[in-house]
Symmetry: C2
Subunit: 210 residues, 2 copies
């Protein structure tokens, strides 16, 4: 397989969200590249190149057929089978992420969660089986989980990440306000809300000449 850049994958995933909305909420059957571009922050030429790369071409008269394009994107992006994701740290944020995410993606689902609070373990929380963090490694290994979300406080985020990686996790979405140190070959997205909101507020004030 060719090497696909981070940005390109992000764009293709964004096209899918736009297409799903056009299909399910607005009842559209076709879309032109310039429409897909304006709703996803890309250029029309970029949309055409990206979709050509996944092997889909539109017609100049009607544009792209939405359902067919959704299938092609799914074949390109999605895992072959349903994939279970783990989440560590079942506080307000963790629980909101589970409720928000599950049901939105056809192939991915948060199925296993971990916490240190005895009231939150050996239960079913928002449809997920919960375990104590001390059992993290054996559970992740047994369930062959490759993707995890970290929503623990900053003080324990690095040690949780280390254990996840030792147990075979390859991709981490980190909401803790700390930058994780991980070995080569592990993919991390840091999505700390505090950093992000401080940045947005900074540019809200200093952006007027842009």
């Amino acid at each position: 397989m060719n090497k696909i850049s981070d940005k390109k994958i992000e764009r293709i995933i964004t096209y899918r969200r736009v297409l799903l909305r056009l299909d399910k909420q607005l009842g559209k059957t076709h879309v032109f590249s310039h429409q897909l571009a304006s709703s996803s922050g890309a250029s029309s030429a970029q949309v055409r190149r990206d979709l050509m790369e996944i092997g889909y071409t539109g017609s100049p008269a009607h544009g792209y057929e939405i359902r067919g394009l959704l299938d092609s994107i799914g074949e390109f992006i999605d895992p072959d089978q349903k994939e279970g994701i783990a989440l560590v740290g079942v506080g307000n944020l963790g629980r909101a992420i589970i409720d928000y995410f599950n049901g939105q993606s056809s192939k991915l689902e948060i199925v296993t969660v971990f916490d240190v609070n005895p009231d939150k373990i050996e239960r079913v929380i928002s449809g997920c089986r919960s375990y104590h963090v001390k059992d993290l490694k054996p559970v992740i290994i047994e369930k062959k989980i490759k993707t995890a979300v970290i929503t623990v406080p900053s003080g324990s985020a690095q040690s949780v990440a280390d254990e996840l990686i030792e147990a075979g996790v390859k991709g981490i979405l980190n909401y803790a306000p700390i930058t994780l140190t991980v070995p080569h070959g592990i993919y991390v997205e840091n999505r700390d809300m505090i950093t992000t909101l401080e940045k947005v507020s900074y540019f809200a004030k200093n952006n007027t000449n842009k």
Copy 2:
């Protein structure tokens, strides 16, 4: 003021999170650039350049004095006075963001929230006064709010963004799974969790040769 890049601001805000942790949780007084670099995903040279730009230099023997550096970063990044932020859409995710964010930043606070559900308006939710979305424009104008968080469903995110911008908002943190179209001069960060988690899962599978 010189033009400061997006990435540089993000790094400086990240340094602050690392410094706060060293100060408050670990009781450290000094830090070397290489330590700050490894905890924030930057290079040592980059740390030194960034901090020189905000007018702070360390000593070769002791490194940077943490409290002084925190003050300098605060002067550089923070608004002069406390700044109130608005949040639109008080579902699970919106509420988790309020609870998570408030108290974490010295100058920024989510103070005003909007929803369409009658059970959620004209109340105090997680310490924030809540209003109906139909009153969004007058309330935002009166309170001179410049930064807002959007946590509404994708179908209403664009119209909410349009109203926020008409009322004077300059920076938007968008959690709805749609890319917002905004005029020149408005700063937007899209932080859709579905897109992000799909991307992390993709690279967890396809990242092994990286």
